[in-house]
């Protein structure tokens, strides 16, 4: 890997973190069984890992939002008692998004050591598909409330599965905190850092 291309990859990989952010620097801190379990990239293929991270992160984010999207539709039907939600175009949009993610997942190659992580992403995607199937059945058949109960169980399972593929080091977190309560640069500035270029990796 040439220095230039590696640096470019890394710069793109850390678009939500400064190069000196604690979130990147303390990469060994994630406990086994917790958020990030399964993301154990091989140290021998950094470029493959970075390629994978760049490809996987938007898919993780897409699934995260798709799960929220489908769960929100369920809430609207079940708490609002609005069966007409089943006929909204939002459901078609969710299916379209699911298909886009399916195609994108097919294009991703997981490097050695990250097969398990990729498997969790695929599994979460498959379970969201099952939840959408339940929606389709609810629209076509009687017993729609029971179908939506099933969809609710599926979407919970999909969320739990995707949560096991969360990896803060790679910017894969269930909540986008960028405007919420924190910013990466804040600690660094307090420690005397200047407002230089965010991704100045040095020479």
């Amino acid at each position: 890997m040439t220095k230039g291309s590696g640096q470019a990859f890394f710069e793109r990989a850390v678009t939500i973190h400064r190069y000196d952010c604690e979130a990147v620097a303390t990469s060994a801190a994630t406990p086994a069984g917790g958020e990030g379990d399964g993301y154990e990239p091989s140290a021998t293929a950094p470029e493959a890992v970075i390629r994978y991270t760049l490809a996987a992160r938007p898919l993780y984010d897409g699934m995260r939002r798709l799960i929220g999207h489908v769960a929100g539709l369920l809430v609207l039907v079940q708490a609002g008692g609005r069966r007409d939600v089943l006929d909204l175009p939002d459901l078609t949009v969710a299916r379209d998004r699911w298909l886009e993610l399916r195609d994108a997942l097919r294009d991703v190659a997981s490097p050695r050591g990250l097969e398990q992580h990729f498997g969790r992403m695929e599994l979460a995607h498959a379970i969201v598909g099952e939840a959408l199937d339940e929606f389709d059945d609810a629209r076509r058949q009687s017993g729609w409330k029971r179908r939506l109960d099933h969809a609710g169980e599926k979407i919970k399972s999909a969320y739990a599965t995707l949560q096991t593929a969360s990896e803060p080091r790679a910017g894969m977190t269930m909540v986008d905190f960028s405007q919420a309560c924190c910013s990466c640069a804040q600690h660094w500035r307090q420690e005397g850092g200047s407002n230089g270029p965010v991704f100045d990796l040095g020479s």
Binding site: C21, I67, V75, L76, V175, C181, C182
Partner: protein, 292 residues
């Protein structure tokens, strides 16, 4: 003295939050402490809360380790300081669906939750938008929406379309659409005379300065300065602030901003053994103080 007691209970805090997030336009003005709190309303046989905080087990460690969110304590610990437990809570008003307000419904197994339908519907819309527009679903945990599915199935989630008078006797909710979030709301605790009303502002007002900002630049004493973060508009935040102020007879101290560290300077307060603040906004007849 009214029929309800109100406390603001701190459950965590960020020591250094960028001031521009709190006050619109306050760029390069440093950082402020941002307490994370919820409000508790007790009286008329009810224990109600405005928001429930977030659950540390999902991403608390990440927040704490990486971003300086400190000293999180569970509702069980926090509520025990005023002699209550999460099981005592029968009603929760969710001011909006950000993770630090809607992120811990599981800890309140006996409560019925109230939220604006628009808050859910518009988040669904925002989550369906292309990646390039993802800013519009910032700070929402899809897991909270997933947990909302369970609440809905258990008939413990009530979706509102705008204001609701007497959600509890003398407790109203009011909507501020397209402001801080798409379906934000605030809670007004009324008394019969109308002279002892309190507004619990959610995130429509973060700090006192959102209501009593300096008006020196335009030669007035104070003016409304909206909060920095809004997926709707600052205009709608200012309009909501005016409505809140009207409900309390323009007595600014009666609009309670839960992210305001200086509440302790304005109301009786104490710091618990865990280093968290309890602020006593008002006491109902016969209720004993929890801060003295």
């Amino acid at each position: 003295m009214g029929q309800y007691s109100i406390w603001v209970l701190e459950y965590s805090y960020v020591t250094n939050y960028h001031k521009s997030g709190v006050l619109y336009g306050a760029h390069n003005q440093g950082y402020v402490k941002l307490p994370y709190c919820y409000a508790l309303i007790k009286g008329n046989g009810h224990v109600a809360m405005v928001d429930v905080g977030y659950n540390n087990k999902d991403y608390g460690k990440h927040l704490a380790d990486k971003f300086g969110v400190e000293n999180w304590r569970s509702p069980k610990v926090v509520l025990s300081e005023i002699g209550l437990s999460p099981d005592d809570v029968d009603t929760v008003f969710i001011s909006h669906a950000h993770f630090d307000h809607f992120g811990n419904v599981e800890d309140f197994p006996k409560a019925t939750f109230y939220i604006q339908e628009r808050e859910i519907a518009k988040w669904v819309w925002a989550m369906s938008l292309p990646d390039r527009m993802r800013w519009m679903n910032v700070a929402v945990d899809p897991g909270d929406i997933v947990r909302g599915v369970d609440l809905a199935r258990q008939k413990r989630l009530v979706m509102l379309d705008g204001a609701m008078e007497n959600a509890l006797p003398g407790v109203d909710v009011h909507a501020a659409f397209d402001s801080h979030t798409y379906g934000s709301m605030w809670v007004t605790v009324r008394d019969q005379s109308g002279k002892d009303n309190w507004v619990l502002a959610g995130d429509l007002v973060y700090v006192f300065d959102n209501i009593e900002g300096s008006g020196a630049a335009i030669d007035v004493e104070t003016l409304y300065v909206p909060v920095g973060l809004a997926v709707g508009s600052q205009t709608n935040l200012v309009l909501a602030t005016e409505e809140m102020m009207k409900q309390v007879g323009y007595e600014a101290r009666r609009v309670i901003p839960i992210h305001e560290e200086r509440l302790k300077d304005r109301f009786p307060s104490r710091i618990t053994d865990q280093g968290l603040r309890i602020t006593e906004i008002c006491l109902a007849d016969g209720e004993k103080s929890m801060v003295r």
